[in-house]
Symmetry: C2
Subunit: 205 residues, 2 copies
């Protein structure tokens, strides 16, 4: 299903490199080596080179990588230059915070609108984004050809929402409800359970 033959775990690290490279200013020099990236991020330098090799961001022995070229290679590989639209389902506290969050644009992703099953919320707007009634979901997704969704509904509703999104053509779901969602055929899912993450950290102290 994955278009590219990069291991998922390497793919997940690409945004980390991209963020770091973007955070450097012009006067950090034109070139950057895998060793200095690795040191800054606390990783092994061979790992960095291997990951970067997947993006075909190609370095030069002795000098390293041209920072701007590497950024461009990563952006290109990750599809940052492809305009994509996503929807958000569940306009509760977290949902509204995500609607207002501008960080998706870095990756070429725009949140088109939100859906909520509460009629009292429908019609409202957050950060200029309309909250629509849940029963319009399938129609809007089909009409706009949207493939990405963020789920921020209560745990009890999440799996059902996931199935309807899949029926409406969604191919990737980022889920914030604290349930492990079963993935419908041809749909990729990533579950982020914020509270569980903090609980796990506590156990690592």
């Amino acid at each position: 299903m994955m278009k590219k033959n990069i291991p998922e775990i390497s793919l997940q690290r690409l945004p980390v490199y991209l963020n770091y490279l973007r955070s450097l200013s012009g006067d950090d020099g034109k070139y950057i080596s895998s060793g200095s990236i690795a040191a800054a991020l606390g990783m092994g330098e061979v790992l960095v080179r291997k990951d970067l090799a997947y993006t075909s961001g190609t370095g030069r022995p002795k000098v390293g990588y041209v920072r701007t070229e590497l950024i461009a290679a990563l952006e290109d590989y990750l599809g940052c230059n492809v305009k994509k639209r996503a929807v958000l389902v569940g306009a509760g506290e977290l949902g509204r915070a995500l609607l207002a969050y501008g960080g998706f644009e870095k990756y070429g992703i725009t949140i088109a609108c939100a859906f909520d099953s509460d009629p009292a919320k429908a019609g409202g707007e957050v950060a200029g984004k309309l909250i629509r009634p849940a029963n319009e979901t399938a129609a809007v997704l089909a009409k706009e050809g949207i493939k990405l969704a963020i789920v921020a509904v209560p745990a009890s509703a999440a799996q059902e929402v996931c199935f309807s999104l899949a029926r409406a053509g969604v191919k990737a779901i980022l889920n914030f409800a604290p349930v492990r969602l079963k993935a419908p055929d041809g749909v990729v899912i990533r579950d982020i359970d914020v509270a569980a993450n903090l609980a796990v950290l506590y156990n690592m102290i």
Copy 2:
């Protein structure tokens, strides 16, 4: 540093089991087998047994695990019954959503208060939780002996915030700023970059 000798990756799965077991109702039967847990969560059954063995939630051949005992073992192992306090730094959109989020209580974690460097926000309240001025951070953390923090400040400020939290005695940080934070000695960090997660998903379609 980790108190227990469980692999981190197993530890991260424990909340998944716990959520699933809690979601079952009483009339799903007294016993549950590793096989049925595995099937429900889409994982291997040996993996489930190995993970559960770390919690000493011990099963009986032929019958499986007593669901309530297993839940108790997981809660106990994860420290859900130990009352813990956390603070939130950065009361922006996401920060305020997290302040209002009740999901931490499942793991025995209470968010005590928030801090924000914007004087206009200080003094405000979200879900009954006070937003205090950033310059009170060290004093409050020391006084309350708080070890857990959630960081939801802009990327440019996150590393500095991380260092001050560490100086003030924080041992674990859940970071939502899109930067890989360097971990001060004795501090564990988990970075969650929401936008990057969605971008990665798009590349897995």
